[in-house]
Symmetry: C2
Subunit: 232 residues, 2 copies
DNA sequence: CGGTCGTTTGAAGTGGTTCAAGCCTTGTGG
DNA sequence: CCACAAGGCTTGAACCACTTCAAACGACCG
């Protein structure tokens, strides 16, 4: 509880930062908009995220992390993407994919906000929305080339760099550290590796001082060094 | 030359079929529309496809096959998708991706057709266009789960089933056979496998009578049997 | 303070890669 | 019409990265 409250302040800045950077909104207005949509739908960790209707919808994740995955034949799953605080994602209940909360998640239905009609807020939302959808599509290509014909350590480093950069965009990187509430199994499911191999890759990266993942945080993050591993 | 002329008839039906099935156009009108856009841009095999402007554009492939890929560090490449006759694809020159012709290709800029303004044709194009873009996005997810944590033979079978079904949609499947102008290296680059392993997978599939790839055609195609391999 | 979940590590097995050689098919020029 | 070259297909043998399984450890939560 107190943890939730303590996390509130910077979290607000996450969603608001999108509006400022990509929507062209002034900071106080962005804050106000985000304040006004407070009290969106809440999900607890590990529960599936579904839109209000059965039609495809757009969800703005005000706080928390999600992952988008498909359950496979043998009980395994393929994680397609991770969503971080401030992200907007397309949720399609008809598709053979699921969004699930990795942490406690607070989100709102974008269609509802747009329907409310206040004009400056509408247009401030549309640009980030469009960018989010496009960037999301682009990341799918990156993820594809990440999975294919790359060594385990290269995949791991590449994913870490992507997450770092995205978190940096919304102000969640402080110095050489950032939150990373993923288990090694999540990373394994995203990268198509066994958890054991993810562990070994992370150990290698830790030993050369590229990054350390522990307790849901990345520390000692050396972007340049990681990029070198990712490039190979 | 005579080969091109001989291939003209069924090829026209490919593009027109899209308009009939997805655009709700009557057959003669669909034929007329496709006739009217004849003489689009032509590319020879192995040349890159680029839109007329430097902005992202939509290209309608009237005839021929393409692949969308990214060149990798070591000279290898990752193929993201194959485009078949009648497909509409988004081409973005700014993105780190290339469309290349696999065969001789004839295509038109969709924006130009839409700009011409004839209303019944406009709306007949818009629905297939929208569907193509959505379906294309969906296939990226399939491709992702195809690459990850699957045996070589499963990936191969899965790709063959996808191509079969798409070709069937545009009437290019005749009985248990269809054209497949891909080298084993193309398949390898798409599936993240070595050409040798693709060859072994294809041999296995051939030996059990699931499909035979030879001379740019698939024959003896047993969709059910292949799906069984793909599912695993 | 015990149970649960995540991490860490070793050892054995395996599926795929790599490399290299031979073959087949197709296209080209004499 | 044949000969040759080029590109793609096929296959074997050695190697290696990753998987699988199992066991121990550590952190967190009631």
């Amino acid at each position: 509880m107190s943890q939730l409250r303590a996390g509130r302040r910077p979290v607000l800045e996450c969603a608001a930062r999108r509006l400022v950077h990509e929507g062209g909104l002034a900071e106080p207005q962005a804050r106000a908009l985000v304040e006004s949509i407070r009290g969106g739908v809440r999900y607890r960790a590990a529960s599936p995220i579904s839109p209000t209707s059965s039609a495809p919808g757009l969800v703005w994740i005000v706080d928390g992390w999600c992952c988008e995955f498909r359950a496979l034949f043998d009980g395994r799953r393929q994680i397609f993407s991770f969503a971080i605080p401030g992200d907007m994602v397309r949720v399609d209940p008809a598709a053979d994919r699921t969004f699930a909360a990795l942490t406690a998640v607070e989100c709102v239905d974008v269609a509802q906000i747009l329907g409310c009609g206040l004009e400056p807020e509408r247009s401030a939302l549309l640009t980030p929305l469009l960018r989010a959808v496009v960037a999301d599509g682009e990341r799918r290509y990156d993820h594809l080339s990440r999975l294919s014909r790359r060594a385990a350590i290269s995949r791991t480093a590449h994913l870490l760099v992507e997450l770092h950069d995205r978190l940096d965009d919304v102000g969640l990187v402080t110095g050489d550290a950032f939150p990373l509430p993923l288990t090694q199994e999540h990373i394994a499911d995203a990268l198509g590796l066994s958890p054991a191999q993810v562990n070994r890759s992370l150990r290698s990266l830790r030993e050369v001082g590229a990054a350390t993942l522990r307790f849901g945080r990345a520390t000692g993050f050396d972007r340049e060094r990681l990029s070198a591993f990712a490039a190979d």
